[in-house]
């Protein structure tokens, strides 16, 4: 992890985390290793806490505001199609955040989050068709449904960890997918279409892709901020402790399964909200949107982005969807191949994912390059 991030998280001032999808370092230590598993970071020195943190913290805040501003400005300058592609990435990023909460922060590899994503999405579509087109109601309902679904199914999964947890979540994901695929009430394999456009606070239907994009962006930023807060809270520390050394946590008097259950429910809620967003921008949802492939891509995004970091996996989510939905067509449908290559490259070259590329390391690269250039000029 880069020193800058570590400093910033420990240190004094902090970014108004409420507004920043990119800002949250998720915190130095945690961001760390889990990607490669084999790598133990032992460096990470830094001395000061207080003042020294202000610089990077402020810089990060600036970057965060800039990124949100750019995302918000997209509808003004871009055509509707790329804008809706960005909305889709944002919704998917919310799902990826939920996977990151489990995998990156708590060390539980999860392949079942697509189930709660789907639960939230179907809830939003059904509410849109039958009850109200209010986006806020739909999203909250999706969130609650994700939470409830995770609470009902999660208590089995959280008793295990590691590969067993992975298989249990995979089983949950596949079962829920099967249900969605065969249940007539939710359109079975055809999915649910005909969701009316969303409205907000009783206003007119938001037909333009730009308005939907702003709504999705606002919710995604709010979810990001909430997750960032959890990660930095004492509970986040508890989760990292479980990731690092569960037996020791028990010896300290913790109940790891309970803490895991909590984060599992939380991740379910986040995934549910992501599902609602996804449904709102597509106005359609089918079992194909919540299958194994989606769960796997979400986990892949976390690995590419850097498990434990929050903004890294969001970037990973954008990258993965970009390759799958947009790039794939132009390279003769070889998107999965590209993703596979990217995955292998990341695992070997960037054990901490995209998140490991920032700060000190990037500055180091730039400095080295600068030095080389200067030397070349001099000679």
């Amino acid at each position: 992890m880069n020193i800058k991030a570590v400093k910033a998280m420990r240190g004094g001032t902090h970014v108004p985390s409420g507004t920043t999808p990119v800002s949250e370092p998720l915190d130095g230590d945690s961001a760390c290793d889990s990607g490669s598993g084999s790598e133990r970071r032992s460096g990470g020195h830094e001395s000061g806490t207080g003042d020294s943190a202000k610089g990077p913290g402020r810089r990060r805040a600036v970057v965060a505001v800039a990124v949100v501003a750019l995302l918000a400005a997209a509808p003004v300058v871009l055509a509707p199609y790329p804008v809706s592609a960005m909305s889709r990435m944002l919704a998917f990023a919310v799902l990826v955040l939920s996977v990151d909460l489990l995998t990156g922060v708590t060390g539980l590899p999860a392949l079942g989050q697509a189930a709660y994503f789907g639960a939230g999405a179907y809830t939003a579509v059904l509410i849109g068709i039958h009850i109200t087109s209010d986006a806020l109601v739909q999203t909250l309902a999706g969130l609650v449904m994700g939470l409830v679904a995770a609470a009902v199914t999660g208590w089995v999964a959280v008793r295990a960890s590691g590969i067993v947890f992975l298989m249990l979540t995979l089983a949950i994901g596949e079962s829920v997918h099967q249900v969605a695929d065969t249940w007539q009430a939710v359109g079975a394999s055809n999915g649910l279409a005909g969701m009316p456009p969303i409205t907000l606070f009783g206003g007119p239907p938001l037909l333009a892709a730009g308005f939907v994009h702003w709504w999705v962006l606002a919710v995604a930023v709010a979810v990001f901020a909430a997750v960032a807060l959890v990660v930095r809270s004492p509970y986040g520390r508890t989760l990292r402790g479980i990731r690092d050394n569960e037996a020791r946590m028990r010896a300290l008097g913790y109940r790891p399964a309970l803490a895991r259950y909590g984060v599992f429910c939380l991740a379910g809620a986040v995934a549910g909200a992501g599902g609602a967003l996804w449904a709102q921008q597509a106005r359609f949802f089918s079992p194909g949107d919540m299958g194994f492939e989606v769960a796997a891509l979400a986990l892949l995004s976390v690995v590419i982005g850097g498990p434990g970091s929050l903004w890294g996996p969001c970037l990973g989510a954008a990258l993965v969807l970009l390759v799958r939905d947009n790039l794939s067509a132009s390279i003769g449908g070889h998107g999965p191949l590209v993703l596979g290559a990217v995955f292998i490259a990341v695992v070997f070259l960037m054990p901490r994912g995209l998140a490991g590329l920032t700060g000190a390391r990037l500055r180091g690269l730039i400095a080295a390059r600068g030095a080389r250039l200067r030397k070349e000029n001099a000679s």
């Binding site: 570590v6 420990r10 902090h14 130095g28 230590d29 945690s30 760390c32 290793d33 133990r40 970071r41 032992s42 460096g43 990470g44 020195h45 830094e46 001395s47 806490t49 807060l229 959890v230 930095r232 809270s233 004492p234 509970y235 986040g236 520390r237 508890t238 990292r240 402790g241 990731r243 690092d244 050394n245 037996a247 020791r248 946590m249 028990r250 010896a251 300290l252 008097g253 913790y254 109940r255 803490a259 909590g262």
Partner: protein, 265 residues
């Protein structure tokens, strides 16, 4: 030696632990008065580690009972015993290597202060947790490394951190499992000094190979041999005890040891 009227802080009654037909710990009786510094010694294979793990709750007892301040905790899991003030350290330091040194201690502090589940504020806004954790780090001499990763600590420093974590759980009883194993002479010296500074009210049970350390720290010593208590008493008495010398301190004829061991099976 032990005040008889006081309820012992830790009491073992006929504690037994077997692995199949092998009885590693054979009906051990032991009582530790509050504040007592008690060492458990014995030759290799005497059952020290098994006894230790059974008392801590890492292993389940096959028979007998463990009482903490008069309350039976035999059936309680390790975590529940920890919540009741009975904590252990590990022979191989067991830390949160990818967390900062401060976070390692803070994990213990926040559990005791019941904020481990709070997620409404950033961790550093819980000032009292931070202060308390730093105080414990200071008491073991690691305050200067608070922000380093635990993985960056040396072996001796990791043991110091373990002590800070254990103290942070505000225990009544601390059990040290061979704390100076693998330490250099200087590290051992520093560690023993640290042990001598532990708060007086703390009851300590220590399993240790290094007899110099044992005789320096312990007020009472129990010698375990082949799963049974061979002798128990103040260090001077133990040193003089003939059976102990024969079994453990080296003056035994090897034939005796083998004969005895053979007889047990």
């Amino acid at each position: 030696m032990t005040p008889q009227r006081v309820t012992p802080l830790l009491e073992l009654r006929g504690l037994t632990r077997s692995y199949g037909s092998l009885t590693a710990v054979d009906s051990v009786d032991l009582a530790l008065a509050p504040g007592e510094r008690h060492a458990l010694i014995g030759p290799n294979g005497a059952g020290k580690s098994t006894l230790f793990a059974t008392v801590a709750g890492t292993l389940r007892a096959s028979g007998g009972s463990v009482l903490l301040s008069g309350q039976d905790v035999t059936s309680l899991p390790e975590g529940e015993r920890a919540r009741r003030g009975m904590v252990r350290t590990y022979q191989h330091s067991s830390l949160f290597l990818d967390c900062s040194v401060l976070d390692n201690v803070a994990l213990a502090v926040q559990r005791v202060h019941r904020v481990a589940h709070r997620c409404d504020r950033a961790a550093r806004r819980f000032r009292h947790i931070d202060t308390e954790a730093r105080r414990h780090l200071d008491s073991v001499g690691l305050l200067g490394r608070a922000q380093d990763m635990a993985a960056a600590l040396s072996h001796g420093e990791r043991r110091q951190l373990e002590v800070a974590m254990v103290l942070a759980t505000e225990p009544a009883l601390v059990m040290f499992d061979e704390p100076t194993a693998g330490m250099s002479a200087a590290e051992t010296e520093r560690f023993v000094a640290l042990m001598e500074r532990l708060p007086e009210r703390l009851t300590v049970l220590i399993v240790e190979h290094d007899l110099d350390v044992v005789f320096r720290l312990a007020e009472r010593v129990t010698v375990l041999h082949l799963g049974k208590v061979l002798a128990s008493g103040p260090p001077e008495a133990i040193r003089a005890d003939e059976a102990v010398q024969r079994a453990y301190l080296g003056s035994a004829r090897t034939e005796d040891l083998f004969a005895e061991a053979g007889g047990e099976r």
